[in-house]
């Protein structure tokens, strides 16, 4: 199950939005395979009926859906690699032709 092919790794890279070089594909195919072989040991544990822990707090983490003060639009745009302060928008490559 943990035999990863380069094709698998390319598919994961696509899902993760990472453009990997050929060298990285090679390296990660080997290293991710090693890591998956290592973690394989948990599969032999019997966990029938064991509830999963996704977080350790024994209470809901919701808060009231009430509006409050936030950062301003210029403060948020200020860190963008490309933004139009006048229009108040982030700029990205054209999406629709």
């Amino acid at each position: 199950m943990s035999t990863l092919t380069q094709k698998d790794v390319q598919r994961i890279a696509d899902l993760a939005r990472l453009e990997l070089s050929h060298e990285e594909l090679d390296l990660f195919t080997r290293q991710l395979g090693d890591i998956l072989t290592y973690v394989e040991q948990i599969r032999s544990l019997d966990t029938t009926g064991v509830e999963p822990t996704s977080q350790v707090l024994n209470r809901p983490v919701d808060r009231d859906d009430a509006p409050g003060p936030t950062l301003t639009r210029p403060q948020l745009l200020d860190n963008a690699p490309d933004a139009s302060m006048e229009a108040g928008l982030f700029k990205v490559p054209r999406v629709i032709g």
Binding site: I12, A16, L18, I42, V56, R63, V95
Partner: protein, 473 residues
Amino acid sequence: MSAVAAVERSLARIQALEPTLSAFNTVMAERALERARALDATAPKGPLHGVPVAIKDNICTAGVPTTASSKILAGFVPPYDATVVARLEQAGAIIVGKTNLDEFAMGSSTENSALGPSKNPWDVARTPGGSSGGSAVAVAARMVPMALGSDTGGSIRQPAGLCGIVGLKPTYGRVSRYGLLAFASSLDQIGPFTHTVKDAADVLQVIAGFDRHDSTSSSEAVPDFAGALTGDIKGLRIGVPRAFLGHGVDAAILAAFEAALQVCASRGATIIDIELPHAGYGIPIYYLICTAEASSNLARYDGVRYGYRTPLQKDDTLQKMYERTRDEGFGAEVKRRIMLGTYVLSAGYYDAYYLKAQQVRTLVRQDYDRAFEQCDVVATPTTPNPAFRLGEKLSDPVSMYLEDIFTVSANLSGLPAISLPCGFAGRGDSAAGTRLPIGLQLTGRAFDEATLLRAGDAFQRDTQYHTEQPPVG
């Protein structure tokens, strides 16, 4: 001492040692001095009045670059302070700089920093540990008396252990994570590095408590931590998971650990054997859970809202811009973890890896629940080995991961844990007379930092390891 004098002393020490140790990403000399002058002009207003502190560079500081030691956050200047930063400043502390880390806190050596590794002041050919290595170095080398780090799988306790200082990971929810750049949200927690347990108690007092900006922060009452330091550990039951210590622990570390238990026993603590049958599964499930959470948390770094964007080429699509930005902006370990996390969350593998890991996480937690029926704190060494050489484990991710074997369980269980200096290992293979610090880790019940601090303080009353200075400067 005036605040200005304290800050000047700190800055002079940083200037002298920084070329050797590389602890800092940013030094805020002017800002710190300005603030010190302002503080000296007023009556003392808080428990940390005029104390210089360093902040790990994955914790947001308004107006000061916050990089997570990653190229992908190049140029990012947060428009807000993390809650811990605001609370420290409210208490009178003066931030003198931002410290180096493994990129996005992913690593155990600071070697994954895009800015290069920090050096262990006890032997500059070795790692200070990580990921909060810069903060640990800054405190160990007396550049600052206290610093903040973050701990997802040991990233405060392991560098504290390897650098011979105190490091505390509070209970999950004890300290607000607002303004901490998220790595693995169910595991991350901010905590202090100091020399003494008393100082750690003072920092925790300031940063602990509910924060409406972090819905996972706890409204549990914050006790008087300094008041808990009575020196009295008579009858304290210290549990030792003997079977878990059986394999792969350095002989000098085991000897120092046993000696530390004796120190506690001679103060009236009872040492008992306990079992943590699933602790050995901590590393595999940690790397499944933290990478899954990281792959989601780091999806936000896409070259649109902040930080680095790849130079655009003609005909680049939006997706191409995302993919190249992320490949160029992230380092190898971060990409490795995003890839692993994406894989274990993907269709067909979720149940086998991620869900399974979450179930085993429940078993790890239940081990502690049972252990704490018999004992009040659990003791282990902080790390299986003293500081390793820079470069030694870089090509083998799994061997690097195994350095966290004793620390990950506290994060998986959400429990508080502290590392205390408890001895030194001699190293004949290094420069003559090299001594490498050893850490004792104590893990406590949820929200019972007070007992950890009381035990740690009692230990420091009978030992001098925390007063020893590394051979730099």
